[in-house]
Every structure is written in C-alpha cells, then in structure tokens.
C-alpha cells in the first residue's frame, strides 16, 4: 500500500523506518512542541480555541463539523469530571486512514488529545480502536506507555498544573460503534446502540459526564495547528476547508493507499497520484467519501475538487475521505448489492425502519442482481428508502439509503437492464 504524505498528520514520518512511530523519533521531528508551546507561553484555553477556529479544521470522521466550534461547546469551567474520546472505530467500507495514523504516527494523536484535554478541562481520555486492527491497538498501547514514561501523560504535565490520563479501548466487530453515542455505550461495556440526541455528549456523554468525541485524524492535526498557528493550517487548504486531508483510495487504481494532500486538490490529480486506473481501464464511477456517500459518475467526478464544499455541490459528500474507484467493467448492481448487505448486517436493530428496511433493500437488490428483479422494484427501493431516511435514532439508516439513491439517480438504466434481461450490462 502506498502512503503519500505531504502535510500535517504525517509530517516528517519515515515510512521505511520501523521505529519512526516511536516517541523519540516523533520528538526529533518536532513532536510535543505544540504541548511545550502551551506550557512555555502559558497559552489559555480560549487562545487555543481561537486558533482552532481560525484553522477552519473540520472534523475528519465524516460529518465535517468545525472542530473549534465543537470544542467551544464543552462546559470547560463547569466543575466535575469531563472526558475526551477519540473515535478510531474505522469500519466504513473504503476508510483506512486512521489505521495508518495509529500505526505510523501514534504520538501525533496522543499529543493532540493531551492538548484537547487541556483546552476543554478534561483529565481523562479514551481512544476507541476497532478490534479488527488489534496489532495497531497493541502498538497504540505501547505508545501511551512511552508518553507516560516521558511525563507527557500523568499529573502536572510539563509543570502546567494540568493532569491528563489516556487509555486505549478496543471494539470487537460492530460498525455501528463508529456512531459517537453508540461508541460511548460500547465504552461503557454495553451493546453499541446509539442514544437519542439531545442531550448531546458535550452535556451528557461518557458515564453521563460532559464529553467531546473527535476523529483520529482530527486530533492528529491539532499539534500542527498549535505549533504553527491556525492561519498556517488554513492556508494549506482553502477557505472553510482548512489544511490537508488524508484520502484513502481503494478499488481499481494502480497504487491504492492513503494520500495526504491539500483540501481542494482536483480529483483528477489525486487519481494520478494513486497511479491512475488499473490496467488502463476507463473510470466509470467513484464513491467519494466512504460507502455511505452517493456514487458519482466519472464525468462529474473529474470536474470536482476534493473538499467538503465541492463534493457536496456535486450531490455527494466528502465524508471520511474514502475514495472508492470503479472502472468500466464494474457492475453497479453487484456493487450496490454488496454495500446493502453491509448495512443490513451492521444495523444495530434498535429502530424498526432501519432493522427491517435494510433487509428489504438488500433482498430487493439481491433479487435484481440474481435475475429475479421485477419492473416495480426500483420504485419499491426508493419507497423503502424514504421510509428509513430521517426516521431513525442515528444516521446508519440514512447511510444505507444514500448509496441506493445515488446508484438509481446515476445508473438507473443499468438496473433496468438487469431487470429486463436478467443479466449484467457489463461483462465481469
């Protein structure tokens, strides 16, 4: 797998050096200087939040919510325990950037969380890592021990009078735990079933205490911002889309992998970086932001830049930056069948529209793919979708519907062909 780093999260990382992830190496490339700056210059919580807002860093987990604003929601002067949580429960098909972060540069995340803890008055943090990457979880635990031994975690960090402890917690095979309130339930040792919001985690989070949850890449971007100032981070990207971003590129490209590039890079350039199309095939479609993002056909995609606003304008979403590339030989019915099975399998079962509806979506697409589709099935899919979307506690229901809507919007004729001819339009 290729990793292309020209930015923030992987600044200075040597991917060929097996020890590059260690604390000693991280410090050599300027690591923990952000934290030291807070100690030396006695930066206040308000000053850090102002820098975060200036940076225009938007949450890297999928929703793209402005991080500085999120941090300002925490009742930081409120007495009592507050928590900080990192979401490394990566399991949206196509997404594999956070794995690369905790594997290659865990201390950037640790430093970001310590700074977050200081800024929001939280003294305990947890990083929730999905269980399928257990080796990375073990490495992250080792990195925490290094930070503890060096005095970056514990009591009175760098003499600031601030205490912070950090722990790793693992999941064990449930996509839904990437939803932040399901993650909190899971962290409390329960089934990962999302909570009603409000109350939001900033007022009622882990163990009922004020909690902020951010994505791995978000926290890992924080040391750079504190070290260099929000303005510098902002200038790496474009207005309202500050900084660089990791794009996980999978599918029919020559060099799948993670690419850290400025937000706003033209998609065509990103595709080039990933080595172009495999076997010289033609690009057919792209899912630009993880499996939940509506698919976009090649001609639309080739005119997009890779940032939150451009992809939204094209009718999809940047999500977590997981770019699934499909060539001309890809059967869209089969692709959608596999994705729909995923949501059916991963629905937590709490809300009836999602629990039952995802099964309906899968079964109808399955029968189309296997030559038993009926002419009315496409309308049925849209109708089932309309009865799921917006009617559930969390966004998994919506996430299951959006790929269906996207496929029927752009590739309806391929589905119709399948129903009429009981076979694929493309050979595969």
């Amino acid at each position: 797998m290729a990793t292309f780093a020209k930015g923030v999260v992987f600044e200075g990382v040597d991917f060929d050096d097996p020890n590059s992830w260690r604390l000693e190496e991280y410090v050599k490339r300027g690591g923990y200087a952000g934290l030291r700056r807070i100690a030396d210059e006695k930066l206040t919580q308000d000053q850090i939040i102002a820098e975060m807002k200036l940076s225009a860093l938007r949450g890297r987990g999928g929703a793209g919510f402005p991080t500085g604003l999120k941090w300002s929601f925490m009742p930081r002067s409120f007495p009592g325990q507050k928590y900080l949580v990192c979401n490394t429960d990566e399991g949206e098909p196509g997404t594999f950037k956070d794995l690369d972060i905790i594997w290659n540069n865990p201390h950037a995340l640790i430093e970001g969380m310590i700074i977050g803890g200081f800024t929001m008055g939280a003294t305990v943090g947890y990083n929730y890592i999905h269980g399928e990457v257990f080796e990375a979880y073990e490495r992250f635990e080792e990195a925490i021990e290094e930070a503890r031994a060096a005095g970056f975690l514990g009591a009175n960090i760098l003499g600031c009078g601030f205490d912070f402890q950090l722990h790793a917690h693992h999941g064990y095979g449930a996509y839904i735990c990437g939803e932040e309130t399901a993650l909190l339930e899971s962290l409390e040792g329960k089934k990962g079933q999302p909570r009603f919001k409000p109350p939001f985690p900033a007022s009622f989070g882990l163990y009922g205490k004020p909690t902020t949850i951010n994505n791995t890449e978000t926290y890992a971007s924080v040391p750079y911002i504190v070290r260099n100032g929000g303005q510098k981070f902002l200038e790496l990207g474009k207005p309202n889309n500050g900084g660089t971003k990791l794009f996980s590129i999978s599918g029919h490209v020559n060099r799948p992998g993670n690419y850290e590039v400025p937000l706003g890079m033209p998609f065509a350039e990103l595709l080039e970086l990933a080595g172009g199309m495999r076997n010289g095939k033609k690009l057919k479609a792209v899912i630009p932001g993880g499996s939940s993002a509506p698919v976009l056909p090649a001609d639309i995609m080739m005119n997009c830049t890779m940032d939150f606003d451009s992809i939204a304008k094209a009718g999809s979403m940047l999500g977590s930056g997981a770019v699934i590339v499909m060539d001309e030989d890809t059967c869209m019915v089969r692709a959608l069948e596999r994705l729909s099975y995923f949501y059916f399998e991963e629905s937590c079962g709490q809300c009836t529209p999602c629990r039952e509806g995802t099964g309906w979506l899968y079964r109808v697409i399955h029968r189309i793919e296997h030559g038993h589709g009926r002419p009315e099935d496409l309308d049925l899919l849209l109708s089932v979708g309309a009865n799921i979307a917006g009617r559930t506690i969390c966004a998994l229901g919506d996430a299951a519907v959006m790929p269906v809507q996207g496929m029927l919007k752009h590739f309806r004729s391929e589905f119709e062909y399948h129903i009429e001819n009981k076979r694929c339009l493309v050979d595969h």
Partner: protein, 157 residues
C-alpha cells in the same frame, strides 16, 4: 473457569476505568476469556460476568452483539475474509472462493480436523491492502492473492 493469567490481564484492563465502572472492561474481559477457551460458552460468559460483578445477561448481551466473539467452537485457526466492496474490487470474493476450495468448507464452517474455521467478514478498515483476511482476530493478512493464501496456509500446517 478463568486462569490466573487471564484474571491478571482483566485486572490490568480494569485500571483504565473508574472503580465504579467495571462494566467498561467487559469487552476486553470477554476477549481475554475467549483467548483462553477458544470460544464463549454460556459458562464462560457467566464467569466473566461474575468476576466483574455484573448480571450474566449484561455479559451475554455484549458477547452476542459484537461479531468477533465466537459463540460456537471454532477451529484452531479462524480466517475471516473481507468480501466488502473495496476488497471485492481487488479480488476479495475470489480469495474467499479460493480458501473454500482449498479447505473444502464453506463460510461459517470448520474443517473436520478442527484446524480451520472460515468466516466471511465485513469491512476491517484496511482496504488499501485489499484483499485482506484477519487471522485469529489478531493479525491482518494483506494482499491475499492465491499465492499469498498458499503461503499462509503452508505456515499453518
């Protein structure tokens, strides 16, 4: 039901959480118990619950909700193949078929000698290495071409 070593590992997990939140260590505790016993029988689930001072149903809920827990005995080597879209675009389904042929079993089955269990898995967040396979809930095997599969199986013989 649980060895001294397992209990010591669970105790280490408990230090991560507030004293009154032992339930948070449940996921780890069940994983540790599964490592020792290979799968989670009702008795093992109950033993974990007892050790953490929880009602057995609390542990059973977690053991049945999360996909990486084995609620049935599995072979010595559990192979979980990702067949989700990004892996499928790079040969994930073929890797699964090849393994089925080689081992002579379908998904969810165990070889007669009790050595291999094959499972179809959902996205493991490692799509850049597609197709991937998770070995015994722990080690990610990347780029699972037929040659790579042969090599891995030979290692396990």
């Amino acid at each position: 039901m649980l060895s001294k070593e397992s209990l010591a590992k669970i105790d280490r997990e408990l230090t991560k959480y507030p004293a009154e939140q032992k339930r948070s260590a449940l996921m780890s505790a069940l994983r540790i118990a599964q490592l020792e016993h290979g799968w989670l029988s009702n008795d093992v689930v109950e033993a974990v619950a007892d050790y953490l001072g929880l009602p057995p149903i609390a542990a059973m809920e977690v053991a049945t909700f999360y996909g990486m827990f084995n609620r049935q005995p599995v072979g010595k080597f559990k192979l979980t193949v990702c067949t989700n879209l990004p892996c499928a675009l790079s040969g994930g389904a073929d890797a699964g078929k090849y393994l089925q042929q080689k081992l002579g079993i379908g998904y969810g089955e165990t070889t007669a000698d009790g050595k291999f269990t094959l499972q179809e898995g959902e996205c493991m967040g490692a799509c850049g290495y597609a197709p991937v396979m998770l070995f015994n809930n722990h080690t990610m095997c990347n780029h699972m071409t037929p040659e790579a599969i042969d090599k891995k199986l030979a290692e396990l013989e």
